[in-house]
């Protein structure tokens, strides 16, 4: 069924499913960014003339670079089943840049033009931090247990992709149920038509036809037009002087971003494609920096879902096909038109499938005894999801959490929630830096299972330091004893002391079997 394309010969029918996942998944973010920037009065000349083309340049370069990595891997290993890493906008980072940097810049009284320059500078700096991550990422990967990385990927998949996928189906069951059941029968049941047409492709094509039949597709041509990306180096460097107060937001979110890349590459490795973690992080950072020079305001990352794409026989070509679509979207404003053609529920099936695979992979590609570590790795992402739903629900009524809610219940809404029995403080604390918190807890539990309480103590000390400086449990970098994250720093330190004390004394005062089956 494979058609040869160059020496790697990797054009596969499954690539069409990959395009739906990668391209159509990302243009939803284009639309979110455009709406968010319109909401603070940015003119169309900046949004559609600078930001969106810059974003498309970054994603296009990311797709081309990942396709190049895929071809190299295929050539090196002689395999024809290599799947390229998916490129995308980091959704958590996107929201932090929009609401943590751009909105405050706007409310500080800067004009949209100056705000945009500052935002491009922030994005450029973010890319530079991602590149630095490329040098320490491989070291971190060797130090922490595999379950911590795959577990946090599974958590993100569960909360952001699997739930969103099934929620879309239940939002419109007449359209969604037939599409999802075709996908599950094919992808999980293994039923396949005689010509071996990928069932993800079958479900997507069926979904589009079914949506057209039901009248769920309304074609939107409002974004069509011609707009070439403009190199804006001067704007980036003029913007630097405005972003110094925002370094405390930009640095932690970029640390978060490069760890997300590291996790997603680990997931690809577990699925059988041995990509280089450091190289991928450097590609992410470089693409982000170039996209900023063309006007983008949010960073690139490796998207989740490689394992699902691989299982559904997606190859490498989907990556460069997506790159071409991004280029066309940028130049001709196609993103609104393409988005309107693809019902959300159809795109969400690809999300659901990839997320299910990520969860299964996290359980099967690590030692079974580490199952408890995986379970705890999911929880911070649940907090992240809860926070986002509450934030968006309140935002619909004109209440913006980032401006009104605090962690210490000093505002009216937080207090009302706590009075009503909502454990809001815990939700907000776990939401801030959810990926890092997830990795740290899974690391600690894996070390405890492996009888390495000394290493668990070290992980808690790292958690304590990260809390003390606000990398986790705080919306921005902070320092001192009167901060939101200080109690967590103390809590982690106490936990570290307990772990180390038991490590030192357990041989004398405890009976610890080599193997203990907790289930």
């Amino acid at each position: 069924m494979e058609r040869t394309l160059g020496h790697a010969g990797l054009f596969r029918p499954g690539d069409l499913g990959g395009v739906v996942y990668s391209y159509f998944g990302n243009i939803i973010n284009f639309i979110i960014i455009a709406y968010a920037l319109q909401g603070i009065g940015w003119p169309e000349s900046i949004i559609y003339g600078r930001v969106i083309p810059g974003l498309a340049v970054g994603l296009m370069l990311g797709c081309l670079a990942y396709a190049w990595q895929g071809y190299r891997l295929a050539k090196k290993t002689g395999r024809k089943d290599v799947t390229a890493l998916p490129s995308g906008v980091s959704t958590p980072a996107m929201f932090v840049y929009l609401y943590g940097v751009i909105y405050p810049l706007h409310y500080s009284g800067l004009s949209p033009e100056v705000c945009w320059m500052a935002a491009t500078a922030a994005c450029f700096l973010g890319g530079f931090i991602e590149i630095l991550g490329g040098f320490i990422g491989p070291v971190i990967r060797r130090l922490i247990p595999r379950v911590a990385m795959l577990g946090t990927v599974a958590g993100i998949g569960l909360v952001w992709m699997a739930t969103a996928g099934l929620f879309e189906v239940y939002h419109d069951p007449i359209l969604g149920m037939p599409v999802v059941i075709i996908a599950i029968i094919g992808l999980i049941g293994g039923y396949v038509f005689k010509k071996r047409i990928p069932m993800l492709l079958v479900s997507v094509v069926f979904g589009i036809i079914w949506a057209l039949f039901l009248g769920r597709v309304q074609v939107d041509t409002s974004t069509l037009g011609v707009s070439l990306p403009i190199l804006s180096i001067g704007a980036v460097f003029q913007g630097f002087k405005y972003i110094i107060p925002f370094l405390s937001v930009i640095i932690p979110i970029e640390v978060y971003n490069f760890i997300e890349t590291m996790d997603n590459v680990e997931s690809a490795i577990a699925a059988g494609d041995e990509y280089n973690v450091g190289q991928t992080q450097i590609i992410d950072g470089a693409c982000t920096m170039v996209s900023a020079l063309f006007g983008s305001v949010v960073p690139n990352t490796v998207w989740l879902g490689h394992a699902g794409l691989k299982k559904s026989e997606t190859g490498i070509s989907y990556s460069w096909i997506s790159a071409i679509l991004y280029a066309l979207s940028s130049v001709f404003g196609l993103y609104g038109f393409m988005n309107s053609l693809m019902p959300a529920v159809v795109a969400s099936i690809t999300f659901l499938w990839c997320a299910m695979l990520m969860l299964v992979q996290a359980y099967t590609d690590v030692p079974r005894r580490h199952g408890a570590a995986l379970a705890i790795a999911l929880i911070p992402h649940l907090a992240d999801g809860l926070y986002t739903y509450v934030r968006d629900a309140l935002g619909a009524f004109g209440i913006y959490l980032e401006e009104t809610l605090t962690m210490n219940s000093s505002d009216e809404i937080s207090q009302a929630m706590i009075n009503y029995g909502v454990v809001w403080k815990g939700v907000v604390a776990m939401h801030s830096g959810a990926i890092i918190t997830s990795i740290l807890w899974a690391t600690v539990v894996a070390f405890i299972i492996d009888r390495r309480l000394d290493k668990a103590a070290i992980a808690f000390v790292v958690a304590s330091v990260l809390s003390f400086f606000g990398f986790i449990h705080s919306p921005a970098l902070v320092f001192g004893t009167a901060t939101m994250s200080f109690p967590y720093a103390v809590g982690y330190l106490l936990a570290a002391v307990i772990c180390y004390a038991i490590h030192l004394g357990h041989k004398k005062i405890m009976d610890v079997p080599r193997r203990y089956d907790y289930v």
Binding site: T77, R146, I269, A270, E274, N276, V277, T364, D365, V366, P367, R368, R369, D450, R451, R452, R514, R515
Partner: protein
């Protein structure tokens, strides 16, 4: 950087109990040798470096298992039936 997760059972009767060898299926062995050469690091509860990898007997090839000596299992601080990672 290839990584394999395998379940470890007891070694073959004719294998030396003190040898630092792990027996794995041919496909995994081939992938690891391409990446790391003929010795790997094994991660159990403890990490053990420079463990030689050899092929399982044909009977075991499709069993999704590995076999290791008692000495290596002790060094890894695991018990029979538990999984390790080969890196």
């Amino acid at each position: 950087m290839d990584v394999k997760c395998v379940r470890v059972l007891r070694s073959y009767e004719n294998a030396k109990d003190s040898e630092r060898v792990i027996y794995i299926d041919e496909a995994a062995r081939y992938a690891l040798i391409k990446q790391w050469g003929d010795s790997v690091m094994v991660r159990g509860r403890r990490d053990v470096k420079n463990v030689q990898i050899k092929a399982l007997k044909e009977l075991d090839q499709d069993g999704f298992i590995a076999r290791a000596s008692q000495a290596l299992i002790d060094e890894l601080y695991i018990e029979y039936g538990e999984e390790v990672l080969l890196i």
